[in-house]
Every structure is written in C-alpha cells, then in structure tokens.
Symmetry: D5
C-alpha cells in the first residue's frame, strides 16, 4: 500500500452560480465520504481559519491517488500539495 499526505486549499470563485456551488459541494462531500468508507481516505481534518483540509490517503499507488484527486468535484477550484509518507521508525503499531 501507499500512504500520502495531501493538503487541499479551496478557492471557489465568488461569482460561481449558487446552484452550481451547492451541487458541487454536495457531490464533493458524498465523494469524500464514500472513499472514507472504503478506507482509502483515512483522515480528513479542516485547517483552522482556512478553506483547506489536510488528508491522509492509503491507496494502492500514486496512480490511484491521482485518479481520486483528479475526479474531486472541487478539483478545478483547488491547489493540491501531495507528500508521500512512509512508516516512521518510532511509530508504535496502532
């Protein structure tokens, strides 16, 4: 498996059609929660004071991660930073 730290900073245009906005946000939430239930989107936290999240993904490969991110409903409004992770020698088995 492959672990990735992903930061997503969201910037939705102020003049986006409200209906489009509502629909996109709903699809984004459903999309994320589905992946969380699959165990791929392992963690998602909101960054205090920002329209950003920090997430941890546990996926097969970078290819799979890209597919997940590329198809985020909010992708067009995001800046995404991906940091590959690996097991830390001090980590005790959860």
């Amino acid at each position: 498996m492959a672990m990735f730290h992903v930061r997503m900073d969201v910037s939705i245009p102020l003049d986006l059609d409200p209906a489009v906005r509502v629909d996109t946000l709903a699809r984004e939430k459903a999309y994320s929660q589905d992946l969380q239930r699959q165990g791929k989107w392992v963690h998602i936290w909101r960054v205090v004071g920002k329209y950003s999240n920090i997430s941890i993904f546990d996926v097969e490969s970078p290819d799979e991660l890209h597919e997940i991110l590329w198809n985020l409903p909010l992708f067009a409004y995001m800046t995404v930073e991906v940091t590959p992770l690996t097991t830390h020698p001090s980590a005790i088995p959860s």
Copy 2:
C-alpha cells in the same frame, strides 16, 4: 481537546559527537513512544526522502503541545511548523 498537525524537519550537525547523537535519538524515540501510548501523539509518519516527520497531536491545549515540543530531545536540531486542526464537515466518525 485540541488537534494539531506538526511537521518536524530534523537537521543534526554532521560533527555532533556520535555518542551524543545515539543517546539523543534513543531518548527521542522513547519520548515519542511514551506520548503515543498516552494517546497524545496520535500519528507520526516519515516524509519520504527527508529526515522529517508529519505528526498529529491530540492534546488539552496549545500550552500542552508547546511543552511536548519544547522538551523533544531533538528540539534544538529541528524546524517545527504547527498547524491547528479542527473537525472537517465531511469527516465520517471513525
């Protein structure tokens, strides 16, 4: 409770006394694992390709987090970035 994302980039001087280095690393590992067992240091991952870790802390307050970080045996050799986190509206209860 208070959740914090902490990135620690370590840069140990190349000319540090090897014995001091070994001792410091051992104390760092024990220190971290003790806090992991207490449930305060919730996650620690190694950043691929770097002498860095990304950690998640679940503590009482910023005060407690500072005490934990300030007393890291490796603190003098670290650059630390702290990002406060909060629950994300899409997060499904683990």
Copy 3:
C-alpha cells in the same frame, strides 16, 4: 484555555456591490465587537498601511477559533494565518 495570534489580510473585490460591501462591513464590525465583549477576541490592531489586522484570541479550543473565523462576514475576502501561542517564560502576570 487556548491563545491564538491571527493575522487577517482583507481583499474585497473592487466591483463588489456597494450595498453588499457596506452591509458586510457593518456585520463584520458588530460580529467582532460582540466577541470582544465576550472576552474571546482579546486584541485587534490595524496593521499600518494595509487592509489587515492582527488579533489575539482567547478561546476554548482550535475548534471554537475555527467557528469564529469561518463565520466572519468578511471571511470569503480574507487570507488568514493562525499561530498558536502559549505563555512566555519571561511574561510577568498582567
């Protein structure tokens, strides 16, 4: 309690409907002053030469701080940087 240093840089679109602007600024002021009276928004200073403020918050947790910031009427027009604070060893009790 939890102390946070928050810098807010405001950038209101030049073509924002003037009425919306006036209303938003009024709601922002009322919102801030209410939190100041509650003792949560402890300090707010204007940065000289910029449409920015530096504020100090004294809140229960990062969660509460996020709720406060997320619901700022001007939030959509802001860049926000949050820095957690703790007591300085040299600070004399006020």
Copy 4:
C-alpha cells in the same frame, strides 16, 4: 504613543559557552521584565513549537523601539520582524 508588533526568532549557536548562554538568558529575562513593568513591553507570548516570541510594544517612537531591540542581550542571535500597528476601527476601548 506608537504601537509595534515584533516577532523575534531566536537561534543560539549550539556551541555557545554554556556559562555565556545561561548569563545571556538571565539578562534577557530581566531586561524584558523591566520593560514590561515600565509598560513599554505590553505583551509577550511564546510561539507554540518554536524558540520565538510575538510581542507588542507601546513606546514613544520607532527610535525608542530600536534602542530597546538593539540592546536585547539575545539580539545577536535573533531575527526580528517589526510591524507598526495602529488602532483598529472595530476595537472597543479596553
């Protein structure tokens, strides 16, 4: 009067003579507390996870602030960022 936000990031050489270090830190604390009692050094907070402080000064002029900072015992080991402040229109009289 003149209000200034000052961030001080401290980096003491690892090979500084321990006696010099202890003496300098003691003089720094006394120096700071004296100015706090004079009401010039109005606030000093520790930045969580860093050997840094954020302080607020209330002084006669930039000249006076410079004298204060230039004569900090730790000045030679500091990176200092000064941001002039002024009253915020939303601030309610303390």
Copy 5:
C-alpha cells in the same frame, strides 16, 4: 517624530473607467504634494521600470502614517510595505 520607509506598488485594473483613472491620479498627486509641502512626505522616488514609489515619511506616529496611507486615493490599487526607520549611528547631521 517617527520616520518610515514606505514602498508602494501600484496596480490599476486595466478596465478601470478612464475618467475615474484620470481623476484618481490627479487627486493622488495633489494629496501627495500637499503632504510634501507639510514636510510629512519627505521624499518620493519612482522605482526604475516599475509603477512603484519608495517614499520616506516623517510623522508624529504610526497612527498618523496609517491615516495618510489609508486615505491615498490610489490605496485600493496598492500593495504597501512599511519599514520603520531610526537614526543611523554613522549619519552626519544634514
């Protein structure tokens, strides 16, 4: 008195109504020259190759400087950096 170095980078929207542009620039020039005659705006130089100026202000306090800058007709189109100055020990009295 208080001396400040201020850099102003101007970026006027390309689609600004030409009449508004001409009027704003005229008011900016008059505003600046009035302050120069008062001896507050001590120096103003154009930065070669940029729509920017570097100015030196000699004012009562940061508060006064902020009022001056905040009320610049071009303020909404500016990025402003303020650097407090003080007398240099090598400066010979002019």
Copy 6:
C-alpha cells in the same frame, strides 16, 4: 508500481576529509548503478550548472523509495524533493 520524480541537490562540506569524500562518492555511484541495473532507478540526469540530479524511480511503493533514498551514501549532504508521478493521458506507449 509507483513512479517518482526526485530532485537531489548535493552540498558536501568543503572541509570534509578528502578520503571520506572519495569513498562516499564511490559508494554513491555503485549504489546508484546497482539500482539502475535493477530497473528501479530508471533515469538520472545532471542539472546543468549545479551539483544536482533529477531522477525517475519506478518502485513498489513510497516505502521502498524512502529506503532507497534514506540509504544513499550522500543522503546526509542532500536536499531531496520527491514528486509522485502517474501516467499522462497524452503519453504514447514507449
């Protein structure tokens, strides 16, 4: 499989014992060429004008990449940036 783009900027201390330098460089070369023969270190180019390389790795996982990088003889003298790659939709099968 997992593809990674890795940039390595090397900075060897000028006062490193020449013998240690020669030995380390030789081990680095052998280490790299062994991985190249295994097909894991797929490409390595020198960046013109810099003591840096850009490499492409094809490995099982981020874990394996970290082991490879962490054990580079020159690792202690390197700044490493890792960028996960995936197949580009325009890429024609080689």
Copy 7:
C-alpha cells in the same frame, strides 16, 4: 543534441468557451503525440494531484525547444519552467 527537463503547470480559465477548451485539448494531445513519435518529446508524466506535467525533451538546441513550447496549443494557459540537463556521471548506458 540537447536534453531539457520541462515542467508545465496548466491553468485554463474556468469561463473558457467549452468548445474552445475541447478543441484546444485535442490539438494539444495530437501536437504532443506527434513530437513523441518524432523522439523529441521523450517523456511526459502527469504530476499526481495537479494539472501539470513533467516532460523530458531531446532536441537540437534551445531554439528548437522554444519553438516547440511556444506553439503548444495550451501555451497561453501554462506556466513553464525549463531546466537544461546533461549526462550524469553515474548514469549507465540504457
């Protein structure tokens, strides 16, 4: 011959006419694949999580590379970084 590493970050305006978008993307793909078949555009990878690619070009000269990049159908929507490469002393002949 001359080897170049080129990173292309694409940012297509959200309000671009959909038909223009589709046509431009199709021409971009054809343009790229033609150069790949000519052996000039040697590699193209997608950067995980971003609308970006990292490519390797093998061309006659910087002049030829510029012509190729300048005439990319997507050029107007791109930020391009070019890094000249050369053979690495550790590289084993492919």
Copy 8:
C-alpha cells in the same frame, strides 16, 4: 554611461481586443528596434519556454532607462526587474 540588465515577463490579458493586441505588439517591436538601432537597447533575447525577454541596456542614466521602460507599449502587461551592471574585472575588451 550606465549598463542595466532588464528582465521583462509579459502577460497579456486573454480577453484583450485582438486588434488592440496586434497593434500594441507592432508598436512594441518598432519601439524596441528603434532603440536597438540607437545602440541603447544593446541585447534582447527570448527566454526559452516563456513570454519573457532578457535585455541589456546601455543608457545615460537610470532616468533615461525609466523613460524607455515606462513608455514600452506593452508596459501595462509586464513585470519588469532591473539589475544595474558594471564592468567585470575578468571581462576582456570586446
């Protein structure tokens, strides 16, 4: 005389009236070539992969350089960086 290195990064709005674009580019070319013939605009190179140029000017003074740059037909669409040059001690007379 005064030598200056000037980098000009051009960013023409995508929605600029095509006729205005064509006219501005033509005037820019004529303007530049006239100064080249006068020996003031000594060199102009295109930066590979970018809508940018690097130029060398040989003029009377910074004042003259500013007049030249300020009156570039494309000035409103440019980011300009000016670096003053002087003779290098290793330069052999051309």
Copy 9:
C-alpha cells in the same frame, strides 16, 4: 546623475576577532561619513530592529556605485540589494 536605493543587511560572524571587528566598524563609519560629506551617500537610515541600513546614493553611474559598495569595509559581511531610482512625477522640487 544616478540615484540608487541600497539596502544593506549586515551579519558579522560571532567569532570574528574583536579587534578586527572594532577596526572594521570604525573604518566603515569613516568611509561612510566621507562619502556623505562628498554628497554621494545622500541618506542613511537604520532599519528598526535590524542590523541593516537603507541608504540613498547620488552618483555618476552604476560603475561608481559598485566601486563604493565593493570597497565598504563591511562588504564581506553584507547582503546588498540595489534599486535604481528616478524622479517621481509627483515630487515637488525640494
């Protein structure tokens, strides 16, 4: 004539021989004051809170400015940023 804005950030090694330090600083002050009396070094201000100055030079050419800066006794311990200036259209004759 040619006007230049020069920022000098000084960083003297902590382990510099005290006698060399005292001598260098004395020569720097004399050197600067001599140029001030010649009217070339027109202004020199200390940046509040930093071992830095902002200076304005009025010299024949960039060549002359370089000679002045290159021969500063403290040059080896300085980071210098040079910004060419010209007359601002709003400046009223002093």
Copy 10:
C-alpha cells in the same frame, strides 16, 4: 549553437586560506578569459553591489555548458542559475 544566460553568485568562506583564495581567483580569471577569447563566454558583467556576475554563453550544447561551469575554479563557492535563451523576434541582426 545554444545561448545561455548564467548568473553566478559567489560566496567564498571568510576563513579560506588566503593563498588558496588568491590562486583560485587567478585561475578563475584566466579560465574565463580563455573562454572569452574562444567566443564561448560571450559576455560577463558584474552585478552592482554583489559578488555576482551575469554571463552569456554561446556553446554547442547544454553538455558543453555544464563542463564549462563544473570546472570553474570557483564552482564550489558558487550558486549558479542557468536560463536557456533563444533569438527574440524583435532582435535586429547585430
């Protein structure tokens, strides 16, 4: 042929053996002047106020440029930035 813009920022350790320094500088000058006479090192200017040069190279390929730069006697003390150039459409034949 291939044109490159190269900026070299030099930082020689203050404690370098003076004899080594003198010898290295002499070899650097001879090395540069030899390449200038060959017509490969076409221009070299000193950046005002810095121990830096901006040079233009006209060489066969990036490979040749790398060899030239890698073997600069001062290379170990340099930060080098290479920017490939090409003919500008406005350039008039010299």
